[in-house]
Symmetry: C2
Subunit: 269 residues, 2 copies
Amino acid sequence: MAEFDFKSRYKLALDLLKEAGIMLREALEQPLEVSCKQDPTDLVTNLDYRVQDFLVSKLSQVFPEDTFLAEELTDQPDARSGAVWILDPIDGTNNLVAQRENFAIMLTFFRDGQPGFAFIYDVMGRVLLAGGGVLPVTCNGKAFAAPAACVQIERSLVSGNAAMLRDNTFGLADIARDSLGVRVYGSAGISFLKVLQGKLLTYASYLQPWDYAAAYVLAPALGYRFLEAQGQALRFQGKQPVFLIPAHLEDYFLEKIRGGGSHAFSGRI
Amino acid sequence: MAEFDFKSRYKLALDLLKEAGIMLREALEQPLEVSCKQDPTDLVTNLDYRVQDFLVSKLSQVFPEDTFLAEELTDQPDARSGAVWILDPIDGTNNLVAQRENFAIMLTFFRDGQPGFAFIYDVMGRVLLAGGGVLPVTCNGKAFAAPAACVQIERSLVSGNAAMLRDNTFGLADIARDSLGVRVYGSAGISFLKVLQGKLLTYASYLQPWDYAAAYVLAPALGYRFLEAQGQALRFQGKQPVFLIPAHLEDYFLEKIRGGGSHAFSGRI
């Protein structure tokens, strides 16, 4: 049996993402079409759909058997079997609308539930983190080693879900108090990227698979751990509470997560 | 009597700020010396002192009569008489320590209490907003017109003091609820810059003169208003609650500020 072809998929995805980045930077010179989904702050734009349609159609042309779990698609295949792409075409749509920056494209490939590779692309900041899983991690095409081991709690900043911080859910407020303070960037992708660059201690929130899959795949190769805060397996369906943390601080985080708020913690993933 | 020489001061300050930027970007390749001031999260570094000493000594050499109100100086002259420079050498020191970016140098010149000109310099983002008062506003040397008039509340993001947001002081939580959400960047300078670029609706906090002077001077020329939230005059001594807002939304903000929390609002500045 031929070896499964991760590399052709990676190479095609990388080229398509760069093309999507160029398209987005041009499109942001023009007015946006903005509409509401669930509520007035849950926005989607013509660019969310355009990026998703572009990536899904181009990848499908070359790999017609592959399936797609994407934010703006209604069909949600089981990410744990077969060749599956998980896509957030624009993570941080409200930032795109209000700031025309601070948003990310996130794309991740799994084969039978095993991490293949992932991308987090800060389009306007022009930072493209790629790899993880079966491939080495690069940042803008260069080998990338995260400064995870140098991160100190009392010299770091914390980011996460506002309600978790307010209610000390999973000890997030306790963790923030041990740190230099809280920052809020409004995009899981941008926040995870800052964690993986050593610019945030952690990012914690209730997230959908397209928000967390890329960080989950990139974390281990870079000295980070991706925790489900209730100690459950990631289901790749629906929201789950997650933390991205430096691996050398896992004991500290597990103690805080178990001690905080009203949520039980039953183990680790 | 000769006309007062704003332009030589402006030109020298601009050159010195660019030099300080180069120095900072080089210095951030090296380890920092970090110490605490009032509490464990109130940090100062060797770079705060180095930038302050550099700017104050160079400006003093050429303009020996001028006085300085600066964050890391104990002497605090009255900013309302004579030729006075107000300086925050590093605004966002915790970001500098934890992220090595997202900090600003802010420098403002007043003559007998009248705005001369100001600078907000996002050193790592390489954005230098300059002018206001008696001089035109430029951004990185080019004429700059802020998109203030295009800002819509329901398509914008809000930033401000965490306690003000929590307690709805001056209606800040009400304002945030009318917007797309809250962002927290950890630097008044970086946040004011985002407001003046149309990337935030407002930034509101309790600030010292070195935190607010530059935004106060830059605001009018760019279609913004700088409000003292209790309707008092700015004293340029001690902390005061302030808002930077788009001028065309002043009525909306005054209604929210007067209606919110437990603080009385007695008028406008």
